[in-house]
């Protein structure tokens, strides 16, 4: 009845569900421990201030291939939504112009508009929200990079916040924002592209930090509780790795027992 070889995955999923439930209760009670600060979060507000001083717009991108709602990368899409709402709230509050470069995955466009609009609504400034600053460039990363970099060149860039699913589109967009004088803040959960963010961003969210940062910027207790579940999962993985190494050193291979 259970798919062969998936026992370990299933047990891990059940364990994560139990832990999530436990930490959700703690979050509801307000007994979660304090979290460390991530410098890149503070840099977002600083970047919006810089944009206002320089009279340039704030740019937000979630990647040409961002906005995926049906792939294994959907978690990054949801994370980028959290950042978009956070950024639009700051822009609305401080009076900065926000340009959102939408991905070519069109199924998430209504959600992107809703997130961007929600920030303005939260600050009571819905009339300042400009739908024409939600930019769509058609299908393909090539059209996207050209559209984004053209926008940097024509309209200027004060802050460029890039969080989401990035492939080879990000070296061009990030570096062009930098060349145009923008403050680059960003990150992706795709480890293979983290190098580009590390090289080109002034402040970077390294890999899984985007998930923690999204929870922090949301200040939503249920989202914050997820960070602790994630941390426990890390300890579990480290423990499993150490046990596996020790058992391998003494000549025991437990992989078949775990169904992997």
């Amino acid at each position: 009845m259970i798919e062969p070889g998936s026992w370990l995955d299933l047990i891990f999923l059940a364990l994560m569900t139990v832990l999530t439930n436990y930490y959700l209760k703690k979050a509801t009670d307000g007994t979660l421990p304090n979290l460390r600060t991530i410098p890149a979060i503070a840099a977002i507000e600083e970047g919006v201030g810089k944009s206002i001083e320089e009279d340039k717009p704030v740019h937000y991108a979630m990647g040409a291939s961002g906005g995926q709602l049906y792939s294994t990368l959907v978690s990054m899409t949801l994370t980028s939504f959290a950042f978009l709402k956070y950024l639009s709230t700051i822009c609305a509050r401080l009076g900065a112009r926000l340009i959102v470069h939408m991905p070519y995955q069109t199924e998430s466009l209504p959600m992107i508009e809703a997130m961007a609009r929600d920030g303005y609504i939260a600050e009571g400034k819905e009339d300042e929200f400009r739908v024409e600053d939600l930019r769509y460039y058609g299908r393909g990363a090539l059209a996207w990079t050209q559209g984004v970099t053209a926008s940097y060149a024509q309209e200027g860039v004060g802050l460029n916040l890039s969080i989401g699913i990035f492939y080879s589109d990000c070296p061009i967009s990030l570096e062009m924002a930098k060349i145009m004088g923008g403050l680059n803040v960003g990150g992706t959960g795709r480890w293979i592209m983290v190098y580009a963010f590390a090289m080109m961003c002034d402040y970077v969210f390294l890999g899984e930090e985007i998930y923690a940062a999204a929870a922090i910027v949301s200040q939503n207790p249920t989202m914050l509780s997820g960070i602790f579940v994630e941390e426990l999962g890390k300890f579990f993985s480290i423990g499993m790795t150490l046990i596996g190494v020790i058992l391998a050193l003494v000549g025991l291979n437990i992989a078949p027992l775990l169904g992997v």
């Binding site: 769509y136 994630e230 993985s237």
Partner: protein
């Protein structure tokens, strides 16, 4: 819109479909496999249909930007008009000659793919420019990055392979041992973050799904 419609209904839909997908992945019961395959095919349909939504956004944005600044906004007028001309020509060629004809494929082979190659070529300059800025030993982190980048680069250059034969083996070791080990750690951490978010979504507690962050 009532709170039930806005929050509770999406939560229930997400939870039900999420559980069905999990059952499709972890069990061998045929009905769940069928449901999973059916739901997966829906995503393709939704994606294809929603392309028109993107066209509406693109058209509206460029028209509004042109209206705001008619004097300097000619470029937006071009963005507004040209896609429809290209679409019309492409559609016409497809109807008249078929989608595998030379006429239909002319735009892709002679314009689109060439522009694509040019854009990718630009990436070299952006990477070179960022490498020049990044590879400055201003801190321990930057020095480690510089050392790693140097070893990787030098081992690729035939001249250094001849001068420093040991760099090839050392470079291979860096690539296969610390690089793979560190990379796997990062991938596991990112996967855990995604899993925690997924579990929250299944439990109807992910704020970005139900009500905005």
């Amino acid at each position: 819109m009532s709170t039930i419609l806005r929050r509770e209904v999406p939560k229930i839909i997400v939870m039900v479909f999420g559980i069905l997908m999990i059952l499709g992945s972890y069990t061998t019961i045929p009905i769940f496999d069928t449901i999973k395959a059916e739901l997966t095919s829906w995503t393709m349909t939704i994606s294809a249909v929603s392309v028109w939504l993107g066209a509406v956004y693109a058209t509206y944005a460029n028209y509004q930007l042109y209206q705001r600044n008619k004097k300097d906004g000619t470029v937006h007028l071009i963005y507004f008009v040209v896609p429809f001309i290209v679409f019309g020509l492409q559609f016409g060629a497809g109807i008249l000659y078929g989608v595998e004809s030379a006429q239909y494929l002319w735009y892709f082979t002679n314009i689109y793919s060439n522009i694509g190659a040019t854009v990718y070529a630009v990436m070299f300059f952006t990477l070179a420019s960022s490498a020049y800025r990044t590879f400055i030993a201003s801190s321990w982190d930057a020095t480690a990055l510089l050392a790693g980048g140097l070893i990787y680069t030098l081992r690729q250059i035939p001249l250094f392979q001849a001068w420093l034969p040991g760099i090839v083996g050392f470079g291979e070791w860096v690539m296969l041992v610390p690089n793979v080990g560190g990379g796997r750690g990062a991938v596991i951490a990112a996967a855990l973050g995604a899993l925690a978010l997924g579990v929250r979504t299944l439990m109807g507690q992910e704020a970005t799904v139900t009500e905005g962050a």
